[in-house]
Subunit: 206 residues, 2 copies
DNA sequence: CCCACTGTTGACGGGTAGTCAATAGCGCCG
DNA sequence: CGGCGCTATTGACTACCCGTCAACAGTGGG
């Protein structure tokens, strides 16, 4: 034989490293195709790893997926430094401008995040989305300086959660369908949010 | 032997009947659990039918699912008899009231339909949703009497599609989370729709 | 009454996911 | 510097799920 040297068939990594490696791979694949169109076989092959190892680290394909979603949802924590001066119009406009900027920079990630992946209702994914929505609402209230409001607080939160449904749809119109420009989305979102805060909610809880 | 009578192991039905039967069963199952949590095996057993027959009638599990979605989406065609008189506020209010009434009556169906989420990245489902959205937008424009508008027509449609994202989220707040009452949803949707039509779109295309 | 038409079955092949005992990197200790 | 043990990693095994298709059996018409 030319050589009996080792040339190990696989390298042994620290659990954290291996975990991160698989996760990165999953992020990529789930980012470009939806849940069930990605097989663990492919994930394993792509990660250069045995299929069983994925289960060892993440338990289940679903849990791996949830891990990816969680990551996608909570990373873009654009710092809400207080722009707590100016009229409410200015604050809303500034906040939404910042929001759109973050989205524009993380286009692929945002689209992957708001399109829930698989189809049909999925309680786990849905819950993650809800958590993310709550956080978004908190930020929004904070930014426009209404975080200490008490009258109709829960209703206002619910309305802003609804509003975020429009925000998602609008960004889809902007980034995917290209039927609206960023400026138009900005105008739309500003107008409706102001309406909700200054008219709908205000009239509802005088 | 007591009797050699037939007692056929299965009954032979007209294709339409069998198809309808399977479809009804699928509607129920997909209504209460999400796509991949329902197996064709279960579907077949529940329908009292061989698994292969499902493929015979619908080709594929996916196509069966799409059939269900299509049905759910297009049944609630609440007739738009012209309430084309009154102020725009009145017309919008009436239209949305009717909309909420239809939803309230078909609660389960509506939830099953919109809970397919913020659009999976499944092109087929997505296309069906888009078709349904287009129809909804048509009805909306017609109802409020803006169906012949030309200036910024496509942008207006896009904004109303975005708006429908909020409508879906708001009905979810109403029916699932119970964080908003029907009246509050009505107020919210009226206010924002009027803002979009009379302010956002109007200012955008003078 | 029986035959042909066709609605229906059920076994087969290929695929995917989770489990677990066996295996083999590789750091560490002598 | 060699071998020993810890544990990261493998890969076969089981169980399920889906689409196909040749064969079978209700059933209505002659």
């Amino acid at each position: 034989m030319s050589s009996t040297e080792s040339a190990p068939r696989w390298r042994r990594l620290e659990p954290d490293q291996r975990r991160a490696q698989i996760l990165a791979c999953a992020r990529r694949l789930f980012g470009e195709r939806h849940y069930e169109a990605v097989s663990t076989t492919e994930l394993a092959k792509e990660s250069g790893v045995a299929r069983g190892l994925i289960n060892h680290y993440f338990g289940t394909k679903r849990e791996l997926y949830l891990e990816v979603v969680r990551e996608l949802m909570f990373i873009p924590e654009f710092t809400v430094e207080q722009l707590a001066h100016g009229t409410i119009e200015q604050r809303v406009a500034g906040s939404l401008d910042r929001f759109l900027a973050v989205i524009e920079r993380n286009r692929a990630m945002w689209l992957a995040t708001i399109s829930t992946g698989g189809y049909g209702r999925d309680p786990d994914v849905e819950q993650i989305m809800q958590e993310a929505d709550e956080i978004a609402v908190d930020r929004m209230l904070e930014t426009v300086g209404l975080n200490h409001i008490t009258a109709g607080r829960e209703e206002l939160r619910a309305m802003i959660r609804s509003y975020s449904g429009m925000a998602k749809a609008a960004t889809r119109e902007w980034l995917v369908r290209r039927s609206l420009t960023r400026e138009q989305v900005h105008t739309l979102l500003c107008g409706t949010l102001l309406t909700i805060i200054t008219q709908v909610h205000a009239e509802m809880f005088t």
